[in-house]
Amino acid sequence: MPTIEIDYDDLQTLIGRHVPLDELRDKAILYAKGEIESVDGDMLKIDIKDTNRPDLWSAEGVAREIAGRYGKPGIPEYKVKKPTLTVRVDPKVSNVRPYTVCAVVRGLNIDDNMLSQMIQLQEKVSETFGKKRHEVAIGVYDYHKIKGPIRYTTVKPEGIKFVPLEFEKPLTPKQILEQHPKGKEYKHLLDGCPEYPIFIDSAGEVLSMPPIINSNHTGKVTAETKDVFIECSGFNLEWNKSALNVLIAALADRGGKVEGVRVVYAKGNKINKTLITPDLGPKKFSVKPSDIIRLLGLKLTTKQMVNLLEQARYSARTSGSKIDVLYPAYRQDIMHWRDVAEDITISYGYENIEPAPPQLATTGKELETEISSRKIAGVMTGMGLQEVLSYMLTNKDNIFRKMNVKEERAVEIENFISVNWSVFRTWLLPGLLEFLSGNKHIEYPQKVFETGNAITPDPAQETKTKDARKLACAVSSTVVGYEDITSIMDGLLSSLGVKYQLKTRTHPSFIQGRTAAVVVSGIELGVVGEINPAVLNNWGLEKPVAAFELDLEKLLDKP
């Protein structure tokens, strides 16, 4: 969820009236699905919960949503003047970064608030909505430093030189990717491209190399800038249109005059036509009041719904048994009548809805595995053992090397944060030994157990893996041995009414001649014995340990 910073006074100016802070916190901000995280002087830190509403990620968007419920209902109108500027899209971009949409906004009076909001919105949209610039990258330029028409084309990595933002020397695109901080940060987005995308004007001045960096000359916006050229580029045309609309609506809300740009896709591009962007015309939808009443359980009249929609910045009117709505072009999230229903509900206020618990006759039912795990834990604790709980993620060193067993295939994480937690446990006993190794200073004897899932590869399953419920138990003391652990295991298995046999086994984690397999109905379900001193050394344990581990899935399958 995006967190944005907004100046409190600026927000009130944009709303067009004073909203006391308490009221903003408890009521007004909810209309923008926001939560005030902190207040530092005039600066509000706000979490916007909706990750699919980039239009809400700026002071302008938040204000727009609040203003609808504070005296400025209805759909905001945005006029787009006829284009004077042309952007020609070279087919060479189609395999690199195929789409761009652009706009010009004139007559801006850029102050600190506006500038910081513009930068913040641009950053949030390209990072979150644009998937870290992959899907959408945004450039804003000083219009007067550009000589149209602009070409969106590609160049060889060393085919041109320009001064990137905040640098002094001209560099080739290749050098930018190697030397500029933004180049290093985003260069993976151009991996494998034989040529890099650039915007270049008719004077041969480079505007930018998307999605990496603007040029220092044209791509710098300051308080002196009055008119701007904006472009969005990426792989999905619709998303770039949405991103552009969000940015332009915010600037228009600050008094900017929007002017279209002719974006000409020549033959050979993914599309072959001329787009006039931005398209800020409202979009149409229609909803059935009966659907909404059934979904909400609220007896709203059609007239009430129309009012609530207007407050949510729609334009709404009844048309037979339906309500026809127009919604603003910056809303790209409306896919279904439910999305409209939600806006009605938010205008209505969740706090005004009387909860009505559903009356359903259903019967609670427990899971077999949980019932048996609980019963087993009951018997184990009855014998004085302490239950512990470990993470399922561990590492190969713990489950294989330290246990003196050969490495097997385990379920492994690719993008782990720490190698300590990079593999799913295949058995539970290593977790118990780790636990004991962390408690050497605590009074002995120590007797612990754990029930939980271990995961192993299993090609027969839909997930190619299998979760199996297991039980492990370990006891440690200055004097402890085979009889101590078998008597605990016998106490458990007799209580469960399980008939079992012990068969001599060797297992590298245990001492040879003091290890047995636990056999139930001819199937080996586990191992019991004294832990191999080599394993004790690996874990830094200084007292003997006797232990067992059982597969509960198979054990409890047996009649």
């Binding site: 604790t381 014998m383 302490q386 962390g438 408690n439």
Partner: protein, 417 residues
């Protein structure tokens, strides 16, 4: 000193009952017949069976093996000559009440203590009644004995079991979780577009091995694909992109409990009306600190019926929160989840801490339910259960839920509910 009891003398004279039984078994005998022939028949049968000499088959007693002279017989004979048998035999004879300790010895032992102030009350004193002639020394009763650490359930597990029992009492059925799942269930079936920021709603782990799983029933896959691409028959416009089956088949550690809800909805065993819940160990690549563990648990579920509305959802949540947290002030606010519309954030008011977020919930979108073959409305909810557990267990650091400290576990008190 030891002596033969009356019963012991009787057996010495007439022979052990089990030997008498074996002797009578020239051929198999019915139980009734044998009972009439052998004195102390029940004892005879029990010991001869235990020794593996006879077996019972269809009401007949059959000789399995003819025994030699049993040690008990030797023991009785030795006793009659005032000699002691070996310890093991002596113990058996005492247990069978064929030999007893001489009463005179008991009295002698007890009399040594008469008139004294004594610490330990002995069996001899109790049997002879001579305790009346002793004084039992008073103790310092304010001191406790040696520390015993009772075996206990792990506190977090205690908490989860309490949650479970509350949900059962509210008519919920538990669904079994899984640790590894395809992206299909974790994302696609929940209507999270494959390349849309809503997929980034939570950063997730991917697997190095195994990498790819199997997708479910092809009808469901086709419908999910169509819904993502163009809305299918759900009344939605869809996300408008090309859905990739290969991406959906990728395996990942389960990132949120809600991933199990579409599995439940697609199941042939789905009941309507139905209430289901799951407690799931979830995995996300968070940097680990006091509020982010290596792993965390989520508890969530669904309610399905022919008619359910948003007011019902709020009603259920209010009941839930009051039941599970014990706090009766509950607040609802708009929220966002890619798979629900409406979505709601649920907070409860803690008497000291004030409002805190307990749960997120909403009504599942048609884009989720319809492709799975579900036409009825479904409410979905999920609890931030780790946070609730930390409050109940008075823990400040989330890592302590999986405490590695034996001392803390030993000293922790049992959760009462």
């Amino acid at each position: 000193m030891y002596r033969l009891t009356d019963e012991g003398r009787q057996y010495l004279e007439k022979g052990l009952p089990e030997i008498n039984l074996v002797r009578a078994l020239d051929k198999p005998l019915s139980v009734e017949k044998a009972r009439s022939m052998v004195e102390n028949f029940n004892i005879a049968l029990s010991w001869s069976k235990k020794n593996g000499w006879v077996k019972l088959e269809k009401g007949n007693i059959i000789l399995v093996k003819r025994p030699g002279k049993p040690p008990e017989q030797d023991g009785l004979e030795l006793m009659s000559r005032n000699e002691l048998p070996d310890k093991r035999t002596l113990r058996t004879l005492i247990n069978r009440k064929l030999v007893e300790e001489e009463r005179e010895d008991i009295v002698k032992k007890a009399q040594k203590l008469v008139g004294k102030e004594i610490t330990n009350l002995t069996p001899e004193l109790i049997k002879t009644g001579l305790w009346k002639k002793t004084k039992l020394k008073p103790y310092n009763v304010t001191a406790t004995g040696n520390k015993i650490y009772a075996g206990k359930r792990q506190p977090y597990n205690q908490f989860l079991d309490i949650m479970r029992s509350k949900l059962f009492s509210m008519g919920f059925e538990e669904v079994r979780g899984q640790s590894i799942i395809t992206e299909f269930w974790n994302f696609d079936a929940l209507y999270q577009a494959q390349n849309h920021p809503s997929r980034d709603w939570a950063q997730t782990y991917s697997l190095k091995y195994p990498k790819e799983g199997k997708l479910p029933d092809s009808k469901i896959v086709k419908q999910v694909k169509a819904t993502h691409e163009n809305g299918w028959k759900t009344g939605s416009s869809g996300w408008g992109y090309k859905w990739d089956e290969k991406k959906a088949a990728r395996l990942m550690p389960i990132a949120h409990d809600t991933a199990l809800s579409p599995v439940t909805l697609a199941s042939k065993e789905l009941k309507v009306p139905g209430k289901y819940f799951q407690i799931v160990r979830c995995f996300r690549p968070d940097i680990i600190d006091a509020t982010h563990g290596v792993e965390f648990n989520q508890m969530g579920g669904i309610v399905i019926d022919r008619e359910l509305n948003f007011r019902n959802l709020l009603g259920l949540l209010k009941e839930f929160v009051t039941e599970t947290t014990g706090f009766d002030k509950v607040r609802f606010r708009p929220d966002y989840f890619p798979f629900t519309e409406m979505s709601v954030e649920v907070s409860a008011k803690h008497p000291d801490m004030g409002w805190f977020e307990v749960a997120g919930a909403g009504m599942f979108r048609e884009e989720l339910t319809n492709p799975l073959g579900v036409k009825d409305p479904v409410m979905a909810w999920g609890f931030g259960i780790d946070r609730l557990a930390m409050m109940k267990l008075n823990i400040k650091d989330i890592r302590e839920l999986f405490s590695k400290n034996l001392d803390w576990l030993r000293k922790s008190s049992v959760l009462m509910g």
